[in-house]
Assembly symmetry: C2
Homo-oligomer: 351 residues x 2
């Protein structure tokens, strides 16, 4: 059995609990041995040491094959935790340093999951789409500034930076994913009627790359129109490709309509494989229920499946997927502990 | 009876039909006489003359007391109509030239309207909130550019520009609206954890202005969290204040969850009253059903009510509102023509 080096960042709150279950399932499913290195990054370490992501730790992580992250974030409004410090100093820093240009977020309405949408909307068709969100450009580049701060004359700017290089690689990745799916449909989402510069670039590159994928159907929607379709007919979507901020917004709505972020998995992927990719549940650290074995580890477990898929272990990934599906279909109403859910899914995978 | 000078821009597609009904109801309801001047702006005029918004027309419109707009926009993919030309050259141009810094979009789930949300979500409480979207700053200022266009080295930028002046006036307007509502609650929406410069400005000014409105409860949500709440518990919102692009995104989702943009009214308001404000339904020109008396004029009629409210005719505005509510509650399943709906609502207002 070959060995895969896995960086594990359990994080804060419920992070360690759900990560433990994801690892439990990964170990049963994977055809490789994971050599784990744990990194205690997150709110706790910051509060204890003032460190968010030391350069030496980043250098070590860069040498791993993949990263599994639980969730980071301290107690809401902790005066010792400056707002945004973990988001920018850790989560976004990893995305940028490891060039995670594909932020992958599958959205499926799982059996047994409760959607906030009406039966009439759900009857329109199955909800099963993937959002390919660009992860290294746009409004997330920190290209902003402010002058006369705190005065009545303050001006504050945020610049969305988009490059042909950056757009093309993520659009190509999205086309390849669309081509591999039964419906082979790609929807570009932007706001070309207002953001003419960035919009033209995204539009033009999508048209260009489309020529390499003649079997993929392409359409375009403004971000505001996407809101309407996600609420009234989400079955129309197959693969969505969009920029960093629109992707952030779309994926939370997508998670909500498919039963909540408790089930949403995600991958921060460097498709060119120069750096390790990172997989994490979309949910946060939920400090209010931490340590009580109340958290649902399903999103973390599904993130493990995305990790296996990325590493090329397609059968193992499919086995986790199937086990989660079966578990969800048969979930009763009596609550299980975090590790009971992990055990049940691991048992199905071992099956 | 005093006279109010009203610019009427019926526009394209179903615009003229719904505008006719809005005027019909306005004339019955208003305690003033409207002196109407019609402007044939829109796709048709552009296609015939190449003109979008001539300076002389703009100058005339600036002298009016208020503007009622139907909808503008030609046939989809008309090769003679460059994409975005009417949006930027007419709609956004009017917002900027007339300093419409308050883009007001009420969202109510009307009786008889069909929401795409499940009964379980609707049972959480009444959906009745207002979005105050900033209309003259942010990503809509056209502060972007591109270099090496069309090459693999293209860089395209879009800059969100936010000023203390611009943020403060719209935030203050939103607080005043919150104070006038029973729940007196204001939610600031931004993405402060990523957009630190603009986010700090919005946050700081909201805290400052809050001191003038001690009876208003203030909270804050990231734009992505708003997506989740709009899908799972929209009753939590009362007044939302946010920037131009987030407001664009939120209001389309808000319209969708309250039964569709067929009922959504909006005002582009210059609260300082230096320029006339403009009122319009949120829907587009729907060229596919134009001229067939199939369009629902309700959103245009409700936009007329917002116009009256802005001009200070609160009772007349409330009368239209009540008439629309009654009409919606008693709508059967047999379709009525556009003018039948207008007649019915006008009769209730008169009655
Ligand atoms: C925590 C935050 C910086 C992050 C983002 O905006 O990308 C989160 O919302 C996400 O979607 O992963
Ligand atoms: C047509 C477009 C420019 C406009 C906007 O983005 O503001 C529209 O979507 C709206 O919400 O009024």
């Amino acid at each position: 059995m070959s060995t895969t080096n896995l960086a594990v960042i359990p994080g804060d709150g419920i992070g360690p609990e759900v990560t433990a279950e994801a690892l439990k399932v990964l170990e049963v499913a994977a055809p490789v041995k994971f050599e784990q290195t744990r990194y205690d990054l997150g709110a706790e370490r910051y509060l204890a040491t003032g460190e968010v992501l030391p350069e030496s730790v980043l250098a070590e992580i860069k040498e791993q094959d993949a990263i599994l992250l639980g969730a980071v974030g301290g107690k809401p409004n902790d005066p010792n935790l400056p707002p945004g410090i973990l988001e920018r100093g850790l989560l976004l820093k990893l995305r940028f340093e490891l060039d995670h240009y594909v932020n992958l977020r599958p959205s499926r309405l799982f059996p047994g999951a409760t959607s906030p949408l009406s039966q009439a909307v759900l009857d329109k068709g199955e909800i099963d789409f993937v959002v390919v969100r660009e992860g290294t450009e746009g409004l997330y580049t920190g290209n902003g500034g402010a002058m006369r701060v705190g005065t009545p004359h303050e001006v504050a700017t945020e610049t969305s930076v988009n490059t042909a290089y950056g757009v093309e690689r993520v659009v190509r990745d999205a086309f390849a994913r669309a081509q591999a799916r039964p419906r082979k449909k790609l929807t570009l989402v932007h706001k070309t009627n207002v953001l003419v510069n960035a919009g033209s670039l995204w539009w033009r590159i999508t048209q260009q790359v489309a020529e390499e994928f003649p079997d993929v159907t392409v359409d375009y929607l403004h971000i505001d129109a996407v809101m309407i379709f996600l609420a009234t007919d989400p079955s129309r979507f197959d693969v969505i490709v969009t920029d960093n901020i629109f992707g952030d917004i779309i994926t939370d709505l997508a998670a909500a309509i498919t039963g909540g972020i408790g089930l949403a998995a995600s991958g921060n992927i460097n498709s060119s494989r120069e750096f390790p990719s990172m997989f994490e549940p979309v949910h946060g650290s939920a400090p209010d229920i931490a340590g009580q074995q109340k958290a649902d580890p399903t999103a973390a477990i599904l993130s493990g499946a995305l990790l296996l898929e990325h590493l090329g272990h397609l059968e193992a990934a499919a086995a986790i997927d199937a086990a989660v599906l079966a578990d969800l279909s048969e979930r009763g109403t009596s609550p299980r502990t975090t590790s009971e859910v992990g055990d049940a899914i691991a048992a199905r995978v071992a099956g």
